[in-house]
Subunit: 327 residues, 2 copies
């Protein structure tokens, strides 16, 4: 039953990258982190990525010869099939980087799989996390923006132009009056329910009401965070509770849109908001029952992710495994 | 290159059903039509379906022994995998009908494939119609409602609960203020851009303005149709032109949502509105460029369907072929 093959998964973010050896049955060795320093350019970046892989291998007490394949996940606009990053906003000034080819060359020709970071996180959760018992699953990752990934029959829905699962840009309001999104358009889910948007909506709510709120702490100097807002809601703060209820409404609409297109067995939410616990998830579920088509709404499983920030490198390792299985 | 196997595709609608023999390479023999008469009940309905298959076989100068498999497409709430119709609104009072099992029994044990009618139409267009050159495609069928189907890697995205591709219920406006949909919820694309909705919006526009319009013909007794509205727009009628422009806007939003989830190579529109020709399609394309993510918006192909009302039985035959290929 066990699959003792060893893979390395590497998840590259704008600030740090994480890598670990993962076995063929999804058990991860301790991970290593390195700063990405995208501003130093892509030549340095690629070398850092190869170094992260080497350190992960060493941390597991192995050598490269023990590794069947490597998987790399990166953010941003890319062509997954070609193995090419175009110009991701959080890896500036990288441009047109042939990631898997370059990493493979630096690792003695080791097979290297490539995937979008949000897709990789979805695949990680699907493989050994919140989605492990399902055959289809959609992940929403709530952070600075909203990322996502769609898994059908155990495979990432990459899309014809590597834009499958860009579900932060599902529109929940009309574009002539919706909130402004980071993509430059209006009405995207991301503009309502990302951690950044939750903070922005809270600021607006505080400005618009005289209602007392613990979030109104003049001069304490700390920036408002989504975490503080969810904590305040849990502690009974009225302004925060309304913001949280609205967030569950928006996420319910996003889930409903996914259910009317790909109709997955499970919809999974990841990111800092997971810390808000079961009451927030119950609010999302109630909105799904209200606003999604009845039959899938009764059946779909709405869950929190379980792998935290490990999902990306575990999913990257799953891509490496898929590559090795193909070969 | 040619596939000379013979299949029968049967497309069952609320009013009529159509069937034809289709070869393994997608060439259809002349089709036959029978009235569905759902009000006569499912026992009669199933016998009519089997009879439609027999007549299609006879119309092609063949006998059942020449047929490799049969495919049946029906509307409504169903479990595709189980081969079960629940209680589709346009086949009242049918309830819990095991369609493929019953039809197979009536046809001497012939293998019978089963599919949702909108999914079958999408598969038909994908196989030999507007989508024949692509590997992924999404079809919007604009009629009384909006049906749809998603084809990925040549296969129907059925979904975990047979609700894949229910894209008429993608929401384009918030549910607390959107237009009321036939599903009982608010803001669904279907409530804006189905033929029925186009007529309803035109009536509202005529009531709300004193602007002269050819669509304001008191006493001629003919009901207003989407076709008449598109014709009036083409002839320069201002009220009709605004309704048509708004329809293209709503369909562009629907396409954008599909592009941010499944990111297909092509989005295809079917139904009576196809008669509006290239100017309407150009308006839809302009809205896709404006409101979808830039990269897929540049690449996606936006087309009209080419098979008309034959798409359903051709797609049903494609399901029969897939079943035979599996066996």
């Amino acid at each position: 039953m066990g699959d003792a093959r060893k893979f390395v998964g590497l998840d590259v973010g704008g600030t740090t990258m994480k890598a670990a050896v993962v076995t063929g049955d999804g058990r991860a060795a301790p991970d290593v982190s390195l700063d990405t320093h995208p501003e130093r350019g892509q030549v340095v970046g690629l070398e850092t990525m190869a170094e992260a892989v080497r350190r992960a291998v060493a941390a597991a007490g192995l050598t490269l010869a023990d590794i069947a394949a490597v998987g790399v996940a990166t953010p941003g606009l890319m062509d997954i099939k070609l193995g090419l990053i175009f110009d991701p906003p959080n890896l500036k000034p990288w441009r047109n980087v042939e990631v898997p080819r370059a990493i493979s060359a630096k690792l003695g020709g080791k097979p290297v799989a490539f995937q979008n970071d949000a897709n990789a996180a979805a695949l990680g959760e699907f493989w050994v996390g919140a989605g492990r018992e399902f055959s289809s699953m959609v992940l929403f990752t709530l952070g600075t923006g909203i990322g996502g990934g769609i898994i059908l029959d155990g495979k990432v829905l990459e899309g014809a132009h590597s834009h499958g699962g860009e579900i932060g840009h599902l529109r929940i309001d009309l574009p002539d009056r919706g909130r402004l999104c980071g993509c430059g358009r209006r009405g995207c889910l991301e503009a309502y329910a990302s951690a950044t948007a939750v903070v922005a909506r809270t600021r607006e709510a505080l400005d618009a009401t005289a209602q007392p709120s613990a979030l109104r702490q003049p001069g304490d100097g700390k920036p408002l965070t989504a975490e503080a807002i969810f904590d305040a809601a849990a502690a009974g703060d009225g302004v925060a509770q309304q913001v949280v209820a609205d967030t569950a409404f928006y996420l319910g609409l996003g889930a409903a849109a996914i259910m009317a297109t790909v109709d997955p067995q499970a919809v999974v939410f990841a990111g800092g908001m997971v810390a808000a616990g079961q009451p927030f998830l119950a609010q999302i579920r109630a909105n799904v029952r209200e606003y999604a088509l009845s039959y899938p709404a009764e059946k779909v499983q709405i869950r929190y992710a379980t792998l935290g920030s490990d999902a990306g490198f575990i999913g990257a390792a799953a891509c490496a495994k898929a590559l090795a299985d193909e070969a």
